[in-house]
Symmetry: C2
Subunit: 478 residues, 2 copies
Amino acid sequence: MAKQEKLVKAITSMDEDFAKWYTDVCIKAELIDYASVKGCMIIRPYGYAIWENIQKIMDGMFKELGHENVYMPMFIPESLLQKEKDHVEGFAPEVAWVTHGGAEELEERLCVRPTSETLFCDHFKNIVHSYRDLPKLYNQWCSVVRWEKTTRPFLRSREFLWQEGHTLHATAEEARQETEQMLNVYARFAEEALAMPVVKGQKTDKEKFAGAEATYTIEALMHDGKALQSGTSHYFGDGFSRAFEVQFTDKDNKPVHPHQTSWGTTTRLIGAVIMTHGDDNGLVLPPAIAPVQVVIVPIASHKEGVVEKATEVCDTLKKVCRVKLDNSDQTPGWKFAEYEMKGVPLRIEIGPRDIENNQCVVVRRDNREKIFVNLDELETRIPEILAEYHDALYNKALSRRETMTYDAKNLDEMKEIADTKPGFIRAMWCGDRECEEKLKEVAGVTSRCIPFEQEQIGDTCVCCGKKADKMLYWGKAY
Amino acid sequence: MAKQEKLVKAITSMDEDFAKWYTDVCIKAELIDYASVKGCMIIRPYGYAIWENIQKIMDGMFKELGHENVYMPMFIPESLLQKEKDHVEGFAPEVAWVTHGGAEELEERLCVRPTSETLFCDHFKNIVHSYRDLPKLYNQWCSVVRWEKTTRPFLRSREFLWQEGHTLHATAEEARQETEQMLNVYARFAEEALAMPVVKGQKTDKEKFAGAEATYTIEALMHDGKALQSGTSHYFGDGFSRAFEVQFTDKDNKPVHPHQTSWGTTTRLIGAVIMTHGDDNGLVLPPAIAPVQVVIVPIASHKEGVVEKATEVCDTLKKVCRVKLDNSDQTPGWKFAEYEMKGVPLRIEIGPRDIENNQCVVVRRDNREKIFVNLDELETRIPEILAEYHDALYNKALSRRETMTYDAKNLDEMKEIADTKPGFIRAMWCGDRECEEKLKEVAGVTSRCIPFEQEQIGDTCVCCGKKADKMLYWGKAY
């Protein structure tokens, strides 16, 4: 098969240079192109179709839980950004500033939104007056800007696409439930749509969102053993609503500050998929978000009846999946490599001999397993094979994560693992920020999360040796 | 009924103050809220749900014709914007400039995209090399910024949402066909989704898009007799591709500059719907884009069986339309006024006596006509009534446009009509830009379009009296 890939466009192998492999996949699978603005990317049709599938599924999950979409302005006046102290400190160093409209200098600078808490609060102040107006369950799909120094396609770019949920509740408890619920939605989405196992947990104070009381996260492990924060959900208490003077009268006619949440996922999820499932032949897409789930490649298509049969198969499959017939004049070998690069889950080969036997060959992208399927059974078999394929991707990623998860008891162990074994490191922590900073300095790892599923793997802090009752995931991260 | 509206929130009547009526509808129907950034708007859930319906239908029409969605950066470097002379002249005076990233001043200013021709060309240069790479049929859904002096919700705001199609073709003819095809798509969308009749035609040179060889438009007539440009499609020839050095090798292996189009519609369409169908009770929505097509209001809902039957009706109707049951503790009168304000096409009233008769009352939003429908026939009757409703809205708008379209033979007639009769004015034109400018100065009208459907209503120019063979639509415009 080695020759086959060369027919199209070879990519760097993972082992040779993982970072190069990653950008090669982004470019050669036609997900992105670099833009004339440094640190921004062009999302090409194939990449954007993946994002549209992500949006469609996730948006449905949000709406099912009663969330409504809105659209806020992309600009935030400087004075508005400054209203919540921690928030502005966190974001001001990395925003893009608009200073002129046409030839005129603006009276007040505007930043391009890096996130929209301040805008939502400003709006909530106008529209929330009574307990009858709550809860507000809002979401927004948009682009945001953060002026990063070093950038990589999907993983960290100056502009990226995302969704940001913003909700407002009468009580702290209800807001906390929402924060947790949305984290669970993200975890379920990662597993069911992206075939990507995640660890759910809470961020330490050091790692939480600027202005939040608590931040929850889903953390995934990439092929190279680095962690990728894949979605976060924040509980704000009433901090923002006090800063922005949002209040409502409760049932007893008393003024109360409502409690708030926000939660977000981004085009980074596409990067997560690439680095979770991809291989040296290119992209490997989970069926739920694959723009094309099945590609049909006719073999010896000049022979009578082949194209007709392939077309017939395509028409049949349209009812049950996203299918494409490639009837171009490229060779089958070229097509095989092309659709492997693009991560299409299943390829159907159909030629004269198959037609004689009333069958076709279904080839899985992940392991190139060949499955012979009777043409009369395609409509039921293909969805089954796609479901099996999803499970196989998930299980493979899960067992890789398990293999690459290590426990450390003390600083020496932590350093040794961090130096030699890429992956997650589980270790106990006393809760002291100094220890967290020291681990970063000494072992180069950051705390990924305090997982909800705790396991007492010791009782002393991996760093200082003092009493510790929290087990954390640590690692190097994107 | 007059009392009923007062229960909710009265709005200014159209006759009293049309502009105030318009903004009242925008606010009271909860389509928008004003933002802290001057000239920007917050699109609230109900307004955004309308936009989502517009997007869904239009996106389907684009994709059916082979267009693919992409996402370009929101920033354009100043040097890139300047590459096409006419284009930069048209847009530079009204763009927002980003000058700083965080605390650092940028080496080159970036404008927030007012439109993305320059970005697409820059990308096309990278990806188009051979005739095999053509055509490129791209579309983008995003927000754009134009630093307008005077703004109005949906109609003219500093930031707005839109789609911009950008296509690249091997030949001028193919590009011209695309330009025309997309204008026809817009016209069909206006008629079939918005129930809004439009005049299709070409813009004069004075009114065309900055950098285009030809601009085509659909023009609609609002309730107050003003014209609204509702969608445009541009043919660029190879001007942009020369300026951006986009070229491909044709079948004879010769380098050729491809031909280009772009076409766009915006959230302005929501403004068009408000001012085409709305009335003194609020919004009137065409069914295709109405977030709620049918609202069910139980009457005497404390009586046994009413809520149950209303729920049953709601469940039945879910299969055939977007239906909502309002079971809140507000009075029926309050609900009637509320959903009239929000322009819900049909209201179903169901009370104890209706249940006894196995029927319900369907009330049309536009004329409050009551239709008694047997409960067993709802599933077939409601879609029929919605279709009739769409046609009724369309026909009413069309006949209003016809009534408000006048012919002018000379400058005196033109002035008199423009001064006294709001609406479209049809008049012959010699093709001279000076006449166009004089008509603007003297009669306050601009050329709306040179309609495709020509009618020879004279043979001399309405302005200068010289020979003229083009009939134009003129008017005051938003």
